[in-house]
């Protein structure tokens, strides 16, 4: 009845069928993108492109959900365990490239350099823990979820309850971030309000998961993998060809990093940069001075603002300038608490801007030995937590959500 494997079909036929389905699917995806690109050239409004993509995604998920409908528990939870290894790998890959890594990772690495690699190390290293400690035993015990495994292994409901509690705790933290991502994407694509967008996105996920269970999730993940890997590779390969002439960014971006480091060296010594940093330093120092006597600073600020308005009016200055000065006067903090908060914020943000920029490839930046050691400890702790967290995640219970959320 379904294209994703009927009851009495040999494994190799099944695999051939899958290959065919996903080849068609990949071709369809590329054709869809080309058609949308042509329509865009012809003047299709922007928001309609968003609607088209969203509609295509929802239809795809619903279609996969309907086609792999199942009533059998083994099928529902672990896709009947007859997913060929290659496809299982693609589904797991899609797991890795979930909402957080797709939306946030490139930006995080760009901003924080070496510090951002903690996420890469942690997420990937966690899979080692899964492979060594969790997956083989779950499989041998024939259990679908960690709580079930604990219940079977230690014979009792208490271990099972502890397992459920831990699973919900882990999944909740993780799913919150993912659902936020889903909301962001839906909002961006449809122009719906964020609160509505979240529910629209969730509705699609639920429909797909409930219809087909793990099997549908595995097949949607493979579908996502195809899209994600194209979306990841295309721009990076393109950039790599532009900058180095080699279409294998993994092999050559070290040389680009060398150039970035050389530019950073220049930037650190650039006189104009030093001047700007000195200005921010002065502002930060001024805020520190103001914090010493908040009421007096408030009075001084107010006097200065009033004087500016009066001066402008006396000199018959432009209306826009007068209005701006009046607005600044009205915007002054009303009480001591607000003033203190404003000065503290000014001190912190200006101090941050006056610091020398962090070098991209430098591990554990810090102004002295002690600060660097703290930064190293933080990095290692983050890696460790991410590894444990990842190891706790891909168990089947939340893979139900996890899979479809990965968009």
């Amino acid at each position: 009845m379904s294209m994703f494997g009927s009851e009495n079909q040999s494994q190799s036929d099944f695999k051939k069928g899958l290959n065919k389905v996903y080849t068609w699917y990949t071709g369809g995806f590329v054709a869809f993108v080309i058609v949308v690109a042509i329509l865009e050239q012809m003047g299709l409004p922007r928001n309609w492109i968003g609607y088209l993509f969203l509609a295509a995604t929802v239809l795809l998920y619903a279609g996969i959900g309907v086609m792999s409908r199942t009533n059998d528990a083994a099928e529902y939870y672990v896709a009947g365990r007859r997913v060929p290894a290659m496809y299982n790998g693609m589904a797991t890959g899609a797991d890795w490239m979930s909402a957080a890594s797709f939306i946030g990772m490139a930006g995080t690495l760009y901003l924080t350099g070496y510090g951002g690699l903690a996420f890469i190390l942690g997420w990937t290293g966690g899979y080692c823990l899964v492979a060594l400690f969790l997956a083989p035993y779950l499989r041998k015990f024939g259990q679908f979820t960690i709580p079930d495994f604990l219940g079977a292994r230690y014979e009792g409901n208490l271990p099972r309850l502890i397992g459920v509690f831990a699973a919900i705790l882990c999944s909740f933290t993780y799913v919150v971030a993912q659902i936020y991502g889903v909301g962001l994407i839906t909002t961006r694509l449809t122009g719906l309000a964020f609160e509505v967008g979240i529910f629209a996105g969730l509705a699609g996920i639920l429909v797909c998961s409930f219809l087909g269970g793990m099997r549908a999730v595995t097949w949607t993940q493979v579908a996502q993998y195809v899209i994600l890997i194209i979306a990841y590779l295309l721009p990076v390969v393109w950039l790599s060809v532009k900058h180095t002439g080699v279409p294998v960014p993994q092999a050559v971006y070290g040389y680009t990093l060398e150039k970035v480091t050389a530019k950073e060296e220049l930037l650190l010594k650039d006189p104009k940069e030093l001047e700007v940093r000195a200005i921010f330093k002065a502002r930060s120092d001024a805020a520190v001075e103001k914090l010493k006597d908040v009421p007096a600073s408030m009075a001084a600020d107010k006097a200065a603002a009033v004087k500016k308005v009066d001066d402008l009016k006396a000199a018959n200055g432009p209306v826009a300038d007068i209005q701006a000065a009046e607005k600044a006067l009205a915007g002054l903090p009303v009480d001591e608490v607000a003033a203190k908060a404003a000065y503290t914020a000014a001190r912190t943000s200006n101090a941050a801007k006056s610091a020398p920029p962090i070098r991209h490839a430098q591990p554990f930046p810090g102004k002295d030995e002690a600060a660097q050691d703290i930064s190293r400890k933080n990095f290692m702790a983050l890696v460790f937590c991410l590894m444990i967290g990842t190891a706790a995640l891909p168990h089947i219970l939340d893979a139900l959500l996890h899979g479809t959320l990965g968009a």
């Binding site: 890469i120 990937t124 290293g125 492979a131 050559v252 990093l257 060398e258 591990p363």
Partner: protein, 86 residues
């Protein structure tokens, strides 16, 4: 189920390979990261520690998982506890 000597042997081999691979995992993750500031010699353009965190460690992780799966499959067949063709 009564555990035979063969079962014990299988289990101790399983533990040994797990411990070994976990040791490698620990080394490429935490030992290399700990000394990241000293290991910044040029490695095909990358500072070495940066390359390890960005690519090297990930390759090692994949090798660990691949080797474990292969080793355990063979061990399962050798000790007659494999699941057979599915």
């Amino acid at each position: 189920m009564q555990l035979t000597a063969r079962h014990q042997e299988y289990w101790s081999k399983n533990l040994r390979i797990t411990a070994l691979l976990l040791g490698i995992w620990f080394f490429v993750t935490f030992v290399v990261v700990f000394f990241a500031r000293d290991l910044t010699f040029n490695f095909f353009g990358w500072p070495f520690s940066f390359w390890v965190a960005a690519q090297g460690a990930l390759v090692v992780y994949c090798l660990i998982i691949w080797y474990y799966a292969r080793y355990m499959n063979k061990l399962d067949i050798e000790y007659g506890v494999d699941e057979g063709e599915e």
